[in-house]
Each structure stands twice: as structure tokens, then as C-alpha cells.
Assembly symmetry: C2
Homo-oligomer: 477 residues x 2
């Protein structure tokens, strides 16, 4: 069975799909737009979930679970929210053999059902802040779907917090945005820009939306996580008030924030190469794949007893590993398979290595072979894995920097997006008309308005008006 995949340069989109299917991250499901997350993909998601969950708990959040079925009338309570989500809703009209009196919507996001409950739970300032997160599946009926990036059903987490003041809620919004940035950079080895979204791009029902944005291997941007300041919009829609410290009734302030299985698509496109997936050690289902090589029974006995020493050393250094001792495929076939699956470090051991008390290490992110002594192989692996994690981040960051360009003239801007493209740093007058025209003419959109704004002013990339807002444009997924 050939596991070859189309090259990135040949057809990026084919490369992406083939990589996912052949590395067994996921498969197409029988229902249009749905996918199956296979064990290799799900193990990565578990690592992501555990990493994020710890960060959420460390910042005081608790998990809960709210129903997936939402009365249709709830969705309609917040005007912007229903406008944003109604084209994407899936609706249960029949259940238990009967037509329902009120249709039920499958949650596209849970603000409405959660704020209908918060009404019962929040009475006094002593009930605040309420810091709840949920891990769940959501359904959005999308027209064009892509494995992991945009699927009808996806897995995600959604934080929903309630606060006594706008300031506290805004602080929380930015705190969680920074949690996402830290997770993306330290665990996923994926550098991200952070900033505010424009009015046109914000969440339906938010006062302000913030995002982390990463550059993929084809120089397009991927919005990888969002954090919303919701003001009192949902509190008003669901009549959630609290008694403040002065014994006055006030509407509660809200935030929501989420990341999804889309992050797996981000991993693929940030680090993948023509041989397949390249996983950062911190999110790989296991860190080291060991491939023993032998021909005779006698060699097998020797290699196996040598393997035990390697195993002990790896265990003592808390390095996670698997041994692939299948007999019906060749070592070369195994090398390809585990490269395709992106395991960060490979150890090969044959009879000659046993004799020399050594082994061969091959980093997935490079291709040179290194011969290492048996002694201290656990510690050495940890050192190499740490280097891989760091180098992967640096490589992705350099790639982004190499493909980011300050652009002041609209002619240059158009040319940039007619050729290779990337991130354009430009000024924008703040008008949604300019924003829309740029998108119509170049397909590039404003990804973020960075928090750090330069002191000098510039002129709007589209209309040329003097402008103080420095933004980052890109084509995006």
C-alpha cells in the first residue's frame, strides 16, 4: 500500500486532505460535512484538551455540561445572535414518534442555553464571578466544509463567564485570549498574532471580539481561537440581574471564548511537510517511536534484550514511546508510516547497534541520522525533544516573518495578493466600506487590529485617508 501524498507545492489543498486521510487523523463520515476523528487524531485532541483544561482550572474555571438541545425561541432572544446563526442551524422537529410543539435547535454555541440557566444561579454579587467552561460538540450547517477546519459537527470548549463589572469581564476576555496565545506558542509550537477583530468580523452578539491568528504553510491566516466581551447583551436578553454591593440591581457582564478541533488543522498546516505530519513533542500521542531491526531469531533475542535497556532509560526520563515490532512490514515501510504520522523522534536499533552499545536517532523535523550511546538515552531523548519543540516554533516564526510585509500602497498590496501573498501590515481608516472593497478586490481581510499600535500614523491602504489604525491583512481559511 502506497502512502505517498501530493506535494505541498503541487497542490496545497490536496496535500492537506491526503495527509489527514492517510495519516489516519480523520475520515469522511457518511453525513455530508461530518468527519470521524480517528484514534491518532483523537489522541492529539486529548493532549490539547488536557493542556488547555489545566490552564483553565489554574485560572479559576470549572467545567459543567449544558444540554445540546436548545428551544428555537432562545436563539431568537438576542437580535445579532440570531442573525448570525440562523442560516447555520440544524433543527429537531420530531422526537419519540411525534412532532414537537416547539422545534429544538442543535447548539451552534451555548450562550443562550447557558444564560437561561445563569438567571437561576446568579442573584448577588457573591455569586460572581461565575467562571464556567464546557467541553462539547456543536453543530453548524456550513456550505463548504474542510476536514478539521470547517465541519458540520466539531468538538470544542466554550467558556462562559459572568462578572459584576465591565472592567472585570474585559480583563477576563483578555486573560483567556492570552491563555490561547500561550497554549498555541508553547504547546503547539505555533506563533500567533493577537488583537481585536473589526466590527464586520466580530461574533454575533459580542461587544468586542479578540482572536489569535496563525500563518499556515500556504501563507494564509487561520483564526485559531476567539475571546469575546459580550457586555450585558445576553444578560439583557435573558434578564440576568444581580444585587451589587450597594444593594442595587444591575445586569451581569459576560464573556465567552473558545477553541475547537480546528486546532488540529492548524497543527497540520503549520508544521506538515511532504512526508506528512510533524507533531510538536508536547502534543504528540507519544514522543518516540522505536523500530527494532533483526533477521534471525538469534538477532531478535539480542535486540529485544537491548530494547529493555532503552525502555528503562526512556521511562526514567518520562519520555513516552511505542515499539513497532510488527513482522509483516519492513523497517523502511515503518519509517514512512511514522513519518507520515508525525512522531517527533525515531530510534532505530539493529544487531550492529547492539554490538556497539549504541542506537540511531532521527528527528522528524530534520532528516540527519545521529548515532547515540545507550547510556543516558532517556535524558538525551528529552534534550532532543525539547530542541525539536523549540526549533519547530522558531521555524514557524521565521516563516511568518519572512512572509509578513509592511505595505503602504494599494498597488503593491494588490500585487502582493496576486502573487504569493502573506501577512500585510497596513493602515486602515476604520471604514467598513474600505474593508469590504479590499476583500472584494483581493480576497484579503483584516485579521486583527494589534494591541500594540505604532506611534506614527499612516494612510489607509484603500482610500489613502490619514489613519491611526495599524492592522494586519491576509487571505484566510
Amino acid at each position: 500500500m502506497s502512502k505517498g501524498i501530493t506535494g505541498k507545492e503541487t497542490d496545497y489543498s490536496a496535500w492537506y486532505n491526503e495527509l489527514i486521510l492517510k495519516s489516519e487523523l480523520a475520515d469522511y463520515a457518511p453525513v455530508k460535512g461530518c468527519m470521524v476523528i480517528r484514534p491518532h487524531g483523537y489522541a492529539i485532541w486529548e493532549k490539547m484538551r488536557d493542556g488547555l483544561d489545566k490552564m483553565f482550572k489554574d485560572t479559576g474555571h470549572e467545567n459543567a455540561y449544558f444540554p445540546m438541545l436548545i428551544p428555537e425561541s432562545f436563539i431568537k432572544k438576542e437580535a445579532e445572535h440570531v442573525k448570525g446563526f440562523s442560516p447555520e442551524l440544524a433543527v429537531v422537529t420530531h422526537a419519540g414518534g411525534k412532532e414537537l410543539e416547539e422545534p429544538l435547535v442543535l447548539r451552534p454555541t451555548s450562550e443562550t442555553i447557558i444564560w437561561s440557566m445563569y438567571k437561576n444561579w446568579i442573584h448577588s454579587h457573591r455569586d460572581l464571578p461565575l467562571l464556567i467552561n464546557q467541553w462539547a460538540n456543536v453543530i453548524r450547517w456550513e456550505m463548504r466544509t474542510r476536514l478539521f477546519l470547517r465541519t458540520t459537527e466539531f468538538l470544542w470548549q466554550e467558556g462562559h463567564t459572568a462578572h459584576a463589572t465591565a472592567e472585570e469581564a474585559e480583563e477576563e476576555t483578555l486573560r483567556m485570549l492570552n491563555v490561547y496565545k500561550t497554549f498555541a506558542e508553547e504547546q503547539m509550537a505555533m506563533p500567533v498574532l493577537i488583537g481585536k477583530k473589526t466590527e464586520a468580523q466580530k461574533f454575533a452578539g459580542a461587544v468586542a471580539t479578540y482572536a489569535i491568528e496563525a500563518m499556515m504553510g500556504d501563507k494564509k491566516a487561520l483564526q485559531s481561537g476567539t475571546s469575546h466581551f459580550l457586555g450585558q447583551n445576553f444578560a439583557k436578553a435573558f434578564d440576568v440581574k444581580f444585587q451589587n454591593e450597594e444593594n442595587k440591581e444591575e445586569y451581569v457582564y459576560a464573556t465567552s471564548w473558545g477553541v475547537s478541533t480546528r486546532l488540529i488543522g492548524a497543527l497540520v498546516m503549520t508544521h506538515g511537510d511532504d512526508k506528512g505530519l510533524v507533531l510538536p513533542p508536547r502534543l504528540s500521542p507519544f514522543e518516540v517511536i522505536i523500530i527494532p531491526i533483526w533477521k534471525t531469531d538469534e538477532e531478535e533475542t539480542k535486540v529485544r534484550s537491548f530494547l529493555e535497556k532503552i525502555e528503562n532509560s526512556l521511562k526514567s526520563a518520562d519520555v513516552t514511546f511505542k515499539i513497532d515490532d510488527r513482522t509483516y512490514v519492513t523497517p523502511g515501510w515503518k519509517f514512512n508510516e511514522w513519518e507520515l504520522k508525525g512522531i517527533p523522534l525515531r530510534i532505530e536499533v539493529g544487531p550492529r547497534d547492539v554490538k556497539e552499545n549504541q542506537l540511531v536517532m532521527v528527528r522528524r523535523d530534520q532528516s540527519e541520522k545521529a548515532v547515540k550511546h545507550l547510556e543516558g538515552v532517556g535524558k538525551e531523548s528529552r534534550t532532543v525533544l525539547d530542541a525539536i519543540q523549540k526549533d519547530m516554533f522558531e521555524k514557524a516564526k521565521t516563516f511568518r516573518e519572512d512572509n509578513t510585509k509592511k505595505i503602504n500602497s494599494y498597488d503593491d498590496f494588490k500585487e502582493f495578493y496576486e502573487s504569493d501573498g502573506g501577512f500585510a501590515e497596513s493602515y486602515w481608516c476604520g471604514s467598513p466600506v474600505c474593508e469590504q472593497e479590499v476583500q472584494d478586490e483581493t480576497k484579503a481581510t483584516i485579521r486583527v487590529i494589534p494591541f500594540e499600535q505604532p506611534e506614527e500614523r499612516g494612510s489607509c491602504i484603500k482610500c489613502g485617508k490619514e489613519s491611526e489604525t495599524f492592522v494586519v491583512f491576509a487571505k484566510s481559511y
Copy 2:
């Protein structure tokens, strides 16, 4: 705010519901039959999930995720399966603003969608066994619902494995049944009977169903987990064949097995008392609640610095804890609250304790106060927590034994279920007619046919015919 709940003896069902609502395990959702799992309840579910997940992985299983939306035609492919589940289905008929060509069913269980995928993944005996588990939400449109025990939506895990031979699949079925038994007894401190279900009680689509059954505080049985040998039923329905070692095509053999958030209801009813929940240490969100007591600022300073020593000692013994230092409720109020929430061990520290270098410990499963020296409080807590875990199991086991009775005459049997009831150990001729008549007349059903059958024969509790099948009857949830 009063947190008092109705007594168990007064009204068991009211006690159960009030306990769940007031201890903030869960709340009713706006959609009929649905519930919200609140942070305290969800933290218990996370402990259960992590405990079970480790046991699944240790027995070679991997997690994956399959879509929640299933084409209606899939459900109809296995004759028994559709008969069992169609009355409970919720159906999506509209999505994205349009009527769907084929209605989609919300999974009530995932055999059909999973076996439609296994068809693509299984070709040769080398692809077997395939050992996959899924953590997911499922929807069953139930007529009468109860918090945790029977809800329209619930969370569960469902294992779906594929094997080359019937023997291997049967072995797997029993292996996972025993995993459930171990989990129930060692983590939940809940003794369970294991055995086979009768034909009338088995899973729709199974060749044989096995279950763990526990006795609740009202002497009714709760089916707490099931493991099914599915034979080739689903392989035939979805045409899943493999090339065996002799290069012949054969249908694959299957198992499935699951436990759900119902286990939280089981915990409540196995251990709860009139003061509220009693949690086994291994599943409690944290093990120790510390309640500091002071009146003056000077006392506060002293107590707080003493607390630090306690914290360090607990940490060094890996004991998990929380400090409740709220100032707007009294210590007595806190005692009640944490008793209601079932935290296994309470530590109280006041200014006098600081002076004496001591603290007060109160076990949730008993009520005596014990004064302990500060030194070694971590280790001492661990010892006490281990004792609580063990004593809770023993207490539940004794309760079950005290309420289990060998019954040979149908008159005694009827009287047993007209009065207090419990588990009746009796003989049964094997006829579904007798089984149904017993149920109609007494509401008791056959919970399990135990694996260990006595050597002697008896006579069927209903018809009196000589019988070799020894069974356990009970009223059940």
C-alpha cells in the same frame, strides 16, 4: 437560605431529587427531560471518566469520535436494533434553512455509524482486533425522566470492538464487564452483582447482554453498566468482512459496552444520607474541606499561618483539599454545605487548636469529631481517607447482604415485594412467560443470571417446574 432536604425514609424520591438540586450536582434544563450537570456534578464525572479511561487504555483501547448525526436508513439496517430504538429517536428534518433529503437521527447509541466506518477500515485479520472507545453525548426520547438516572440527553462512553473470532469477542465482552465491576467496587465503593441478562432484557441487536447491578438505598436495583456480545449482527448489517489467516472472507465479530452519567445517580443512592451526598474519596472532586475559624484579626493571622503548615503536610501526602475562608457565612453553615456536597473529610481549625498545635477531623461517613496533632496530618488524612473508602464499600455490601433473601415460594416472593423488598435469589424455569407474569404481579424483574450457579436445582419461583437456573430478582430503576 435553608439547605434542609426531605428524609430518605419520608420520601426516597423527594430526597433524591432535593439532594441533587441542593448539593448543586445538577439542575433541570428548559427542555423537558434534559438536565444541566453543574460544576460539582461534572467534577465527579471527570473523576469517573479519568478512572475508566485509564482502565480502557490499560486494556489496549483507543479513543475516537464519531458523528452524532446518523442517516435514518442506518438505524433500520439491523432488525432488532431499529425495533428497540425507534420509539426513542429524535430526528433532524431541517438544516441550513432547508428540508433535508434524508432525515438524520441523533445517536441513541453508535453501533450503526461506527460499523459503517469499520467497513472501510477492516480488510484483513491484521486489522483486528480493533479496540475503540468513544466519550460522547447521546439522545433518547424517554417518557419518564429522572435526574441522572434517565434523561433525554446523557453523557457516556461506548466501546465498540471488532474481532476475528467469536471467542475473542466473548472474552472482550467479559473483560470489560469486569473492568466495570472493578471500577464500581474500587472507585465508587459500590458492590455489584455481575451476570447475564435474560433474552427479554438484552440490548436490541445483541446476541448476549451482561450487566453490573447495584442495590440502591431503597433496596431497588440499578443497572449500572452493560457489556454486549453482538456476534456478527452488525457486521452482517453493514457488510464488514475480513480476510482471515487462511485467506477466506468472514464476517467480523463485535462487542459494545457502556456506562453513563447514570453512575452519578448510583453514587447518590448508594451512599447518600439525610444530610446529603457522601462521596467516596477516590471520586470526590477534592478529598478534604478545611474550615478555619476566627473572630478577631489577630486570631485570623494566627489561624492562617497555622493553615499553611496543614496545607504543606496535605500536599506532601498528595491529599487534595480546599479551604473555605468565606467571611459572609458562619462555620456552622459551611459544615452543612460541605456535608450536603459529600466531601469525605472535614478539618476544622480555630484559635484554640492553634495554641494546642492540633486540629479537628470529622469524617463525612460518620459524625464523631477526632482531635489530631498537626504533625503528620497529611499522612493521617491519607490513612483516614483510605479507611473511609473501605468502610463505605463494606457498609454498602452489608446493606445489600442484609436485604438479599433466598426465596423458594411464590407466596413469600409476593410478600417480599409487597413489603420492603430487596434482592430475591430464586430459581426460574427460563420461560419468558413466567418472567413477564412475575413482573406484572410484583414489579420485580430478573436483574441477572449470575455466572456462578449453585450445583443443586430448584423449582421455578412462578410455575414450580424443576429448574436449573438460579437468578436474582429485584424491583429496579
